[in-house]
């Protein structure tokens, strides 16, 4: 029974991880978000003021309210219960007192006998920002490299953050052994999708052209 529960916890964590990495998050009701997102391109009548320079000036008096927030990949989606997601999206990196504790509790739910996993991840993922150590060698850039490898940090397009996240939580990134899997290996420390389907460019804007 305990074994089953452990697997269940593990899978729940994976669920969060994969949901997270599918880049989805709490969304906003469309009716308060303005016009429908997929506007028709049917403006052939030419009446829109956006054709010329008129109408291009923003209203400087508009007050904008934050509705979505993202720093490190996986943090909120993996370690914050979904009931709190909307509140997390309205927070800022320095609000660690509330959410950091939740993240630690989540990780300790399945790595409780190896508390260094939660404490290390908590320290590198909070405050929740992508940390860049720009004084270090740019060749060492990569997600969490600033903390784990004395590197530049940040997050590169090609970084396999799914495997990195799964391996940190379930694998042997932060411990010599793990009851779940060896980092980067099946069953649950890799999804075996190591790269994007399209190659990234070496020239601006770097992301591949869209599929049309």
């Amino acid at each position: 029974m305990m074994e089953i529960n452990r697997i269940r916890i593990m899978l729940t964590a994976c669920a969060f991880a994969i949901t997270a990495t599918a880049c989805t998050d709490t969304k906003q009701p469309q009716d308060i978000a303005g016009p429908a997102f997929a506007q028709s391109g049917n403006d052939a009548k030419g009446k829109d003021a956006d054709d010329g320079d008129k109408g291009d000036e923003d209203d400087d008096n508009t007050v904008y309210e934050q509705v979505e927030f993202l720093g490190n990949p996986l943090v909120s989606e993996v370690t914050i219960v979904k009931a709190n997601h909307d509140r997390y999206n309205r927070t800022q990196p320095y609000n660690t007192a509330e959410f950091g504790a939740q993240s630690l509790a989540f990780i300790n739910a399945f790595r409780g006998t190896q508390p260094e996993v939660a404490s290390t991840l908590g320290a590198v993922l909070y405050p929740d920002m992508l940390i860049v150590e720009s004084g270090r060698n740019p060749a060492t850039a990569g997600w969490l490299s600033w903390a784990l490898a004395n590197g530049w940090g940040g997050r590169k397009l090609a970084d396999d953050v799914v495997d990195a996240g799964l391996s940190a939580i379930f694998g042997t990134v932060l411990t010599a052994t793990s009851p779940y899997c060896v980092s980067g290996q099946l069953p649950l420390c890799t999804d075996n999708v190591p790269a994007n389907d399209k190659a990234f460019s070496n020239v601006f804007p770097y992301l591949a052209s869209p599929t049309l």
């Binding site: 949901t19 989805t24 508009t62 920002m129 397009l157 992301l207 591949a208």
Partner: protein, 249 residues
């Protein structure tokens, strides 16, 4: 949602591709709905921040590239008519803490005007925000302005691009549902997935892992600038980066 699938299906000749594409859309949508507070609300994917990136320019390590990916999944059929936010309605921001207190010292503010296919983008920053926190107004000062889907190069060394790109993220989402069918969507092809072994798929073989986001686009904002415009000597060049979206009150 059904409309998405119909739209997506039309330009694709192969039935198999249609099924896969519909499955992808369904999966992403319903995965998102996993986080909804109520099942009834219609979603506005423009507010969805998919991913934030920060990396050195591959060709000039003294420059930093910042990416804010939004709105995925955008299907190929949707892409030509898809828009960023509308005038005075949505604000996209990339925020920088370079003093070590996890509060923004510099912000990039990106706004859009115009209709699909001819939107214009305006970039403010990097500049000190009018206010720290979740309630923001547009900052004054120099603006960079131009057409979406175009590389804009400003005098101060900043490059800007805003437009549809291939979603740079990659994951075997389908196999996840086999591992945990409890999370599968309620309708569409993925809804029929049943419990499989508790493992992701091997890289090769008869049933290999698949990037479920292949051929799916996002709406990306890419900014490149000299790293010196972000770094602060007082913190030895260390800075933090995050992205937000906001709606007009």
């Amino acid at each position: 949602m059904q409309k998405w699938i119909a739209t997506r299906a039309r330009p694709l000749a192969a039935v198999a591709l249609v099924v896969l594409a519909a499955a992808a859309i369904k999966a992403r949508t319903l995965t998102a709905s996993d986080h909804q507070d109520t099942p009834l609300v219609e979603m506005s994917p423009r507010f969805d921040v998919n991913d934030v990136y920060a990396f050195p320019s591959p060709t000039n390590p003294a420059r930093t590239v910042l990416v804010l990916g939004t709105a995925s999944p955008v299907t190929p059929a949707q892409t030509p008519s898809f828009t960023f936010g509308t005038k005075d309605q949505e604000l996209y921001q990339i925020k920088i803490d370079n003093t070590g207190d996890a509060r923004e010292d510099l912000v990039f503010q990106i706004t859009f005007t115009g209709k699909a296919g001819k939107q214009k983008v305006t970039l403010r920053g990097p500049v000190k925000p009018n206010a720290v926190g979740t309630m923001n107004t547009l900052v004054g000062g120099k603006k960079i302005k131009g057409n979406t889907n175009t590389i804009i190069t400003a005098e101060n060394g900043i490059k800007l691009f805003a437009g549809p790109r291939d979603d740079p993220f990659f994951i075997d989402l389908e196999q996840f549902f086999r591992i945990l069918p409890d999370r599968r969507p309620e309708a569409g092809p993925l809804s029929t997935i049943t419990q499989g072994p508790l493992t992701f798929r091997p890289a090769t073989g008869p049933n290999p892992a698949v990037d479920f986001l292949r051929g799916i686009n996002d709406m990306a904002i890419v900014i490149e600038l000299p790293t010196s415009m972000l770094a602060n000597a007082a913190t030895n060049g260390r800075f933090g980066v995050w992205g937000t979206t906001s709606r007009a009150r």
